[in-house]
Symmetry: C2
Subunit: 158 residues, 2 copies
Protein backbone atom coordinates (compact mmCIF):
# COMPACT_ATOMS: atom_id res chain seq x y z
CA UNK A 1 0.00 0.00 0.00
CA UNK A 2 2.88 2.33 0.79
CA UNK A 3 3.41 3.28 -2.83
CA UNK A 4 -0.11 4.69 -2.90
CA UNK A 5 0.28 6.78 0.21
CA UNK A 6 2.56 9.41 -1.18
CA UNK A 7 0.52 10.07 -4.34
CA UNK A 8 -2.62 10.14 -2.21
CA UNK A 9 -1.07 12.57 0.20
CA UNK A 10 0.20 14.64 -2.68
CA UNK A 11 -3.27 14.65 -4.24
CA UNK A 12 -4.79 15.63 -0.93
CA UNK A 13 -2.35 18.46 -0.54
CA UNK A 14 -2.99 19.67 -4.08
CA UNK A 15 -6.75 19.45 -3.56
CA UNK A 16 -6.58 21.21 -0.24
CA UNK A 17 -4.31 23.88 -1.63
CA UNK A 18 -6.58 24.38 -4.62
CA UNK A 19 -9.60 24.64 -2.36
CA UNK A 20 -7.77 27.05 -0.11
CA UNK A 21 -6.74 29.11 -3.12
CA UNK A 22 -10.30 29.20 -4.39
CA UNK A 23 -11.56 30.22 -0.99
CA UNK A 24 -8.84 32.84 -0.83
CA UNK A 25 -9.71 34.07 -4.30
CA UNK A 26 -13.34 34.38 -3.24
CA UNK A 27 -12.47 36.14 -0.02
CA UNK A 28 -9.92 38.41 -1.59
CA UNK A 29 -10.88 39.61 -5.06
CA UNK A 30 -8.43 41.92 -6.80
CA UNK A 31 -8.18 45.44 -5.35
CA UNK A 32 -9.26 47.01 -8.66
CA UNK A 33 -12.40 44.84 -8.64
CA UNK A 34 -13.22 45.81 -5.06
CA UNK A 35 -12.72 49.50 -5.87
CA UNK A 36 -14.99 49.11 -8.90
CA UNK A 37 -17.66 47.51 -6.72
CA UNK A 38 -17.59 50.27 -4.14
CA UNK A 39 -17.61 53.00 -6.79
CA UNK A 40 -20.64 51.25 -8.24
CA UNK A 41 -22.36 51.12 -4.86
CA UNK A 42 -22.22 54.91 -4.59
CA UNK A 43 -23.61 55.31 -8.09
CA UNK A 44 -26.56 53.09 -7.22
CA UNK A 45 -27.08 55.05 -4.01
CA UNK A 46 -26.93 58.31 -6.02
CA UNK A 47 -29.51 57.03 -8.50
CA UNK A 48 -31.94 56.12 -5.74
CA UNK A 49 -31.16 59.30 -3.83
CA UNK A 50 -32.07 61.32 -6.93
CA UNK A 51 -35.37 59.50 -7.27
CA UNK A 52 -36.35 60.32 -3.70
CA UNK A 53 -35.23 63.92 -4.16
CA UNK A 54 -37.44 64.19 -7.26
CA UNK A 55 -40.42 63.09 -5.16
CA UNK A 56 -39.57 65.30 -2.20
CA UNK A 57 -38.97 68.39 -4.36
CA UNK A 58 -41.66 67.69 -6.94
CA UNK A 59 -44.69 65.43 -7.26
CA UNK A 60 -44.59 62.80 -4.52
CA UNK A 61 -44.62 59.22 -5.78
CA UNK A 62 -45.06 56.87 -2.83
CA UNK A 63 -44.15 53.64 -4.64
CA UNK A 64 -41.09 55.18 -6.24
CA UNK A 65 -39.87 56.45 -2.86
CA UNK A 66 -40.45 53.05 -1.23
CA UNK A 67 -38.53 51.24 -3.95
CA UNK A 68 -35.63 53.69 -3.81
CA UNK A 69 -35.52 53.83 0.01
CA UNK A 70 -35.59 50.04 0.26
CA UNK A 71 -32.69 49.78 -2.18
CA UNK A 72 -30.66 52.32 -0.21
CA UNK A 73 -31.41 50.56 3.09
CA UNK A 74 -30.55 47.10 1.76
CA UNK A 75 -27.27 48.38 0.36
CA UNK A 76 -26.50 50.24 3.60
CA UNK A 77 -27.06 47.01 5.52
CA UNK A 78 -25.13 44.84 3.08
CA UNK A 79 -21.79 45.14 4.85
CA UNK A 80 -20.08 47.87 2.85
CA UNK A 81 -17.05 47.73 5.15
CA UNK A 82 -16.02 44.62 3.21
CA UNK A 83 -15.39 46.91 0.24
CA UNK A 84 -12.54 48.67 2.05
CA UNK A 85 -10.00 45.91 2.66
CA UNK A 86 -6.33 46.69 3.22
CA UNK A 87 -4.70 47.12 -0.18
CA UNK A 88 -7.48 49.32 -1.58
CA UNK A 89 -6.24 52.60 -0.12
CA UNK A 90 -5.19 53.59 -3.63
CA UNK A 91 -5.90 52.10 -7.02
CA UNK A 92 -8.22 52.26 -9.98
CA UNK A 93 -11.63 50.65 -10.29
CA UNK A 94 -13.80 52.38 -12.88
CA UNK A 95 -11.46 55.29 -12.13
CA UNK A 96 -8.90 56.23 -9.46
CA UNK A 97 -10.36 55.83 -6.01
CA UNK A 98 -11.26 59.05 -4.20
CA UNK A 99 -11.09 57.50 -0.73
CA UNK A 100 -8.97 59.37 1.81
CA UNK A 101 -6.31 57.49 3.80
CA UNK A 102 -8.22 58.45 6.97
CA UNK A 103 -10.89 55.84 6.23
CA UNK A 104 -8.26 53.17 6.82
CA UNK A 105 -6.41 54.85 9.68
CA UNK A 106 -9.40 56.17 11.65
CA UNK A 107 -11.50 53.04 11.69
CA UNK A 108 -13.52 53.87 14.81
CA UNK A 109 -14.60 57.16 13.27
CA UNK A 110 -15.34 55.49 9.93
CA UNK A 111 -17.36 52.80 11.69
CA UNK A 112 -19.39 55.42 13.51
CA UNK A 113 -20.09 57.21 10.21
CA UNK A 114 -21.23 53.91 8.70
CA UNK A 115 -23.52 53.21 11.66
CA UNK A 116 -25.15 56.63 11.32
CA UNK A 117 -25.70 56.00 7.62
CA UNK A 118 -27.29 52.61 8.31
CA UNK A 119 -29.52 54.05 11.06
CA UNK A 120 -30.83 56.87 8.89
CA UNK A 121 -31.22 54.62 5.82
CA UNK A 122 -33.35 52.22 7.88
CA UNK A 123 -35.38 55.11 9.28
CA UNK A 124 -36.01 56.46 5.78
CA UNK A 125 -37.17 53.05 4.53
CA UNK A 126 -39.52 52.79 7.52
CA UNK A 127 -40.95 56.26 6.99
CA UNK A 128 -41.20 55.78 3.20
CA UNK A 129 -43.53 52.82 3.78
CA UNK A 130 -46.04 55.13 5.47
CA UNK A 131 -46.19 57.46 2.45
CA UNK A 132 -45.93 60.51 4.71
CA UNK A 133 -44.17 62.95 2.38
CA UNK A 134 -43.34 65.39 5.17
CA UNK A 135 -41.76 62.72 7.35
CA UNK A 136 -39.86 61.39 4.33
CA UNK A 137 -38.46 64.85 3.68
CA UNK A 138 -37.14 65.03 7.26
CA UNK A 139 -35.68 61.50 7.17
CA UNK A 140 -34.21 62.11 3.72
CA UNK A 141 -32.52 65.27 5.00
CA UNK A 142 -31.02 63.36 7.92
CA UNK A 143 -29.76 60.62 5.62
CA UNK A 144 -28.20 63.27 3.39
CA UNK A 145 -26.33 64.66 6.39
CA UNK A 146 -24.76 61.25 7.03
CA UNK A 147 -23.69 61.05 3.37
CA UNK A 148 -22.20 64.53 3.52
CA UNK A 149 -20.43 63.87 6.81
CA UNK A 150 -18.75 60.78 5.44
CA UNK A 151 -17.81 62.51 2.18
CA UNK A 152 -16.31 65.45 4.08
CA UNK A 153 -14.20 63.19 6.26
CA UNK A 154 -13.33 60.29 4.01
CA UNK A 155 -13.68 61.28 0.36
CA UNK A 156 -11.35 63.44 -1.68
CA UNK A 157 -12.92 66.18 -3.77
CA UNK A 158 -13.29 65.21 -7.42
Amino acid sequence: MKKFVKPLLAALIVTTTAAASMAFAQQAPKPEQVIKWRQSVYQVLAWNNGRIKASVDGTYNKDEVIRAANAIAAIANSGLGALYPAGTETGKGWRETTVKPELFTEQAKAGEAARKFITEANELAKVAATGDAGAVKVAFGKLGQTCKGCHDDFRKKD
Copy 2:
Protein backbone atom coordinates in the same frame (compact mmCIF):
# COMPACT_ATOMS: atom_id res chain seq x y z
CA MET B 1 -50.07 99.29 -11.45
CA LYS B 2 -49.66 98.44 -15.11
CA LYS B 3 -45.93 98.96 -15.04
CA PHE B 4 -45.63 96.21 -12.46
CA VAL B 5 -47.65 93.68 -14.38
CA LYS B 6 -45.15 92.96 -17.12
CA PRO B 7 -42.18 92.40 -14.81
CA LEU B 8 -44.37 90.24 -12.59
CA LEU B 9 -45.51 88.18 -15.54
CA ALA B 10 -41.94 87.93 -16.76
CA ALA B 11 -40.80 86.80 -13.32
CA LEU B 12 -43.59 84.24 -13.19
CA ILE B 13 -42.64 82.88 -16.59
CA VAL B 14 -38.99 82.70 -15.65
CA THR B 15 -39.83 80.97 -12.36
CA THR B 16 -42.18 78.51 -14.03
CA THR B 17 -39.70 77.76 -16.76
CA ALA B 18 -36.92 77.24 -14.25
CA ALA B 19 -39.14 74.91 -12.21
CA ALA B 20 -40.12 73.02 -15.34
CA SER B 21 -36.47 72.74 -16.35
CA MET B 22 -35.55 71.42 -12.92
CA ALA B 23 -38.35 68.90 -13.04
CA PHE B 24 -37.27 67.88 -16.51
CA ALA B 25 -33.66 67.58 -15.40
CA GLN B 26 -34.76 65.30 -12.56
CA GLN B 27 -36.95 63.18 -14.79
CA ALA B 28 -34.48 62.89 -17.62
CA PRO B 29 -30.88 62.71 -16.53
CA LYS B 30 -28.24 62.55 -19.24
CA PRO B 31 -28.00 59.23 -21.12
CA GLU B 32 -24.37 58.75 -20.08
CA GLN B 33 -25.39 59.13 -16.42
CA VAL B 34 -28.20 56.61 -16.80
CA ILE B 35 -25.86 54.15 -18.50
CA LYS B 36 -23.34 54.63 -15.68
CA TRP B 37 -26.05 53.92 -13.12
CA ARG B 38 -27.16 50.73 -14.79
CA GLN B 39 -23.59 49.50 -15.27
CA SER B 40 -23.11 50.16 -11.57
CA VAL B 41 -26.25 48.21 -10.69
CA TYR B 42 -24.83 45.09 -12.34
CA GLN B 43 -21.53 45.50 -10.51
CA VAL B 44 -23.35 45.68 -7.19
CA LEU B 45 -25.38 42.62 -8.15
CA ALA B 46 -22.14 40.82 -9.11
CA TRP B 47 -20.54 41.68 -5.78
CA ASN B 48 -23.46 40.29 -3.84
CA ASN B 49 -23.77 37.31 -6.16
CA GLY B 50 -20.12 36.48 -5.46
CA ARG B 51 -20.68 36.64 -1.73
CA ILE B 52 -23.55 34.17 -1.91
CA LYS B 53 -21.53 31.92 -4.20
CA ALA B 54 -18.67 31.92 -1.68
CA SER B 55 -21.11 30.70 0.99
CA VAL B 56 -22.78 28.14 -1.24
CA ASP B 57 -19.48 26.73 -2.51
CA GLY B 58 -17.53 27.11 0.72
CA THR B 59 -18.30 27.74 4.37
CA TYR B 60 -21.89 28.85 4.72
CA ASN B 61 -22.34 32.24 6.38
CA LYS B 62 -26.01 32.80 7.07
CA ASP B 63 -25.78 36.52 7.88
CA GLU B 64 -23.62 37.24 4.86
CA VAL B 65 -26.08 35.45 2.57
CA ILE B 66 -29.03 37.32 4.08
CA ARG B 67 -27.33 40.68 3.61
CA ALA B 68 -26.35 39.90 0.03
CA ALA B 69 -29.70 38.37 -0.94
CA ASN B 70 -31.58 41.33 0.54
CA ALA B 71 -29.45 43.75 -1.45
CA ILE B 72 -30.07 41.80 -4.66
CA ALA B 73 -33.81 41.64 -4.01
CA ALA B 74 -34.13 45.33 -3.15
CA ILE B 75 -32.23 46.27 -6.31
CA ALA B 76 -34.32 43.85 -8.39
CA ASN B 77 -37.47 45.49 -7.04
CA SER B 78 -36.19 49.03 -7.43
CA GLY B 79 -37.58 49.57 -10.91
CA LEU B 80 -34.56 48.88 -13.10
CA GLY B 81 -36.62 49.44 -16.23
CA ALA B 82 -36.21 53.16 -15.56
CA LEU B 83 -32.53 52.72 -16.39
CA TYR B 84 -33.32 51.84 -20.02
CA PRO B 85 -35.05 54.96 -21.36
CA ALA B 86 -35.12 55.73 -25.06
CA GLY B 87 -31.86 57.39 -26.00
CA THR B 88 -29.68 54.94 -24.06
CA GLU B 89 -29.54 52.24 -26.73
CA THR B 90 -25.94 53.26 -27.33
CA GLY B 91 -23.55 55.45 -25.40
CA LYS B 92 -20.87 55.45 -22.77
CA GLY B 93 -21.36 55.36 -19.02
CA TRP B 94 -18.31 54.03 -17.22
CA ARG B 95 -17.65 52.41 -20.59
CA GLU B 96 -19.59 51.72 -23.80
CA THR B 97 -22.90 50.07 -23.06
CA THR B 98 -23.15 46.37 -23.86
CA VAL B 99 -26.94 46.38 -24.14
CA LYS B 100 -28.37 44.80 -27.30
CA PRO B 101 -30.93 46.73 -29.38
CA GLU B 102 -33.39 43.89 -28.68
CA LEU B 103 -33.93 45.13 -25.13
CA PHE B 104 -35.56 48.22 -26.58
CA THR B 105 -37.36 46.57 -29.49
CA GLU B 106 -38.62 43.43 -27.72
CA GLN B 107 -40.06 45.04 -24.63
CA ALA B 108 -42.55 42.30 -23.77
CA LYS B 109 -39.76 39.72 -23.76
CA ALA B 110 -37.50 42.04 -21.76
CA GLY B 111 -40.30 42.67 -19.28
CA GLU B 112 -40.83 38.94 -18.84
CA ALA B 113 -37.09 38.46 -18.22
CA ALA B 114 -37.21 41.22 -15.61
CA ARG B 115 -40.22 39.65 -13.89
CA LYS B 116 -38.45 36.28 -13.68
CA PHE B 117 -35.40 37.97 -12.17
CA ILE B 118 -37.54 39.76 -9.57
CA THR B 119 -39.42 36.56 -8.69
CA GLU B 120 -36.25 34.54 -8.15
CA ALA B 121 -34.50 37.37 -6.30
CA ASN B 122 -37.44 37.60 -3.89
CA GLU B 123 -37.47 33.82 -3.48
CA LEU B 124 -33.74 33.80 -2.70
CA ALA B 125 -34.14 36.53 -0.08
CA LYS B 126 -36.99 34.57 1.49
CA VAL B 127 -35.02 31.33 1.56
CA ALA B 128 -31.84 33.07 2.76
CA ALA B 129 -33.69 34.23 5.87
CA THR B 130 -34.26 30.59 6.88
CA GLY B 131 -30.55 29.81 6.74
CA ASP B 132 -31.22 26.56 4.87
CA ALA B 133 -28.02 26.25 2.84
CA GLY B 134 -29.44 23.57 0.54
CA ALA B 135 -32.53 25.58 -0.29
CA VAL B 136 -30.38 28.66 -0.84
CA LYS B 137 -28.26 26.72 -3.31
CA VAL B 138 -31.36 25.77 -5.31
CA ALA B 139 -32.79 29.30 -5.23
CA PHE B 140 -29.39 30.78 -6.08
CA GLY B 141 -29.13 28.48 -9.08
CA LYS B 142 -32.56 29.55 -10.30
CA LEU B 143 -31.67 33.21 -9.89
CA GLY B 144 -28.47 32.60 -11.86
CA GLN B 145 -30.52 31.15 -14.70
CA THR B 146 -32.56 34.35 -14.93
CA CYS B 147 -29.34 36.38 -15.03
CA LYS B 148 -27.91 34.15 -17.77
CA GLY B 149 -31.12 34.20 -19.78
CA CYS B 150 -31.21 37.97 -19.81
CA HIS B 151 -27.51 38.24 -20.64
CA ASP B 152 -27.90 35.78 -23.53
CA ASP B 153 -30.81 37.70 -25.02
CA PHE B 154 -30.04 41.29 -24.20
CA ARG B 155 -26.33 41.73 -23.51
CA LYS B 156 -23.49 41.81 -25.99
CA LYS B 157 -20.44 39.73 -25.17
CA ASP B 158 -17.58 41.75 -23.72
